[in-house]
Subunit: 235 residues, 2 copies
Amino acid sequence: MEAMKTTGATAGRPRLSGSTGESPRQEIIREATALFVAKGYAETTMSEIARSAGLRQSSVYYWFARKEHILQALLEENRGSLQVAEALEPAPGSAAARLYAVLHADAVQLCASPLDFYEFERVARSQPQNFGAFFEDYSELHRLAASIIRQGIDAGELRDVDPEAAATAALSLNEGLQRHYRQPLPGLRTYTADDVSALSADTTLASLLRAPDDLPAVRIEAAALSASVDLSTES
Amino acid sequence: MEAMKTTGATAGRPRLSGSTGESPRQEIIREATALFVAKGYAETTMSEIARSAGLRQSSVYYWFARKEHILQALLEENRGSLQVAEALEPAPGSAAARLYAVLHADAVQLCASPLDFYEFERVARSQPQNFGAFFEDYSELHRLAASIIRQGIDAGELRDVDPEAAATAALSLNEGLQRHYRQPLPGLRTYTADDVSALSADTTLASLLRAPDDLPAVRIEAAALSASVDLSTES
DNA sequence: CCAGACTTTCCATAGCTTATCGAAATACTG
DNA sequence: CAGTATTTCGATAAGCTATGGAAAGTCTGG
């Protein structure tokens, strides 16, 4: 079971719909993602996913034994901001700018992700054995953010706060704001992904910087850092 | 239908369980709340609610035609932080302290609420016609917070930021942090309701204050304001 | 005190969901 | 060309929300 064929060669019983594209696994993930984005995870049924992918409801279970496994597969294709944090935590230079770059990258990724962070978290919590990676990544990101904050405090750039609590607040703000980007509340202004990412990083850094007037300079340095990380990732 | 009896007088067919307490409506809300707190809204079934309340699954539908209506009734019993904002927005004195008091009260309420903010929001979004009050209250709270921020900018207490965006960030931080209080992520420190409320208000005010060193004084003044609002509400 | 109305609960069940199982239909292998 | 591996299908179990009608009481007017 769980064959790993990626080419479109036709083995097994043919579909009633006759459709025959790429790897069924990828096909299902792609269609499911579109439906999750449009309707949310809980409101999307396996029948709808099957119909979109061109097969029957029960056939989807050949590729994914549980609905959560589709979400899991989707999650594994969406790592990223952790890499930025891992690259920047030990890097030289201003801790404030590195923190800004990490938070901004994380917010961008939360906004760009096909699924709401809280939907991931909800499913991850109900299937801890399958989503260990989710929690590990999160706590690693938290640890790295707290470490950068500690560096900033030691260097005198940042106010003398509790690094762990500050990291929790910073990530919470990212998560809370991605929600406002993703699902604008009626009567409130709508924001772009860039808006909320800048708003989040600006707010956190303004709350931590010993000299808030340095914020514009921090932003500029962070932008340079982000660019350098992107380049080094490509190589 | 939908009788309004609140006394425990027994009319109608008796229950198989023989139980006969207060108003069935209140009984159902109380038991459902406990289950929602323990397992979350989506994971709680009408059968479980019925069993806890001492009747059969379908009998619950006599009092609440839809599962969401139980949540709605629960929500209507939990207003509060809006009152603080309405009392303090036009009040005299430091805008920073009033903002701190409003944000702190909102965070405390989010933590004390029987249900996760995002679960409310999710259900409210799926039943907009029944949850209009939810969105109205939220946008009113947002408006009042933005107004206090604007006052603080005009008075020179706060940095010259966009009041609407700052209010969105402040409320987002409250919402994101209540999540960490309510469902601590594995590997991260756990926080009390007071911890996250102070952390949230501290962070927001630190990001907005022109002179972050004033934060301790702002905290003290805010505590006095909160006490005065509580007193005036009781009268 | 009794007939009918009203209130509340129950049982049965429709229709939807996730998930399982065995059979069917094809390609691959020796 | 027989046997095996792969993939899909149909049928169906078990659980969910919600509906409809019958049942079992209390309440009220005559």
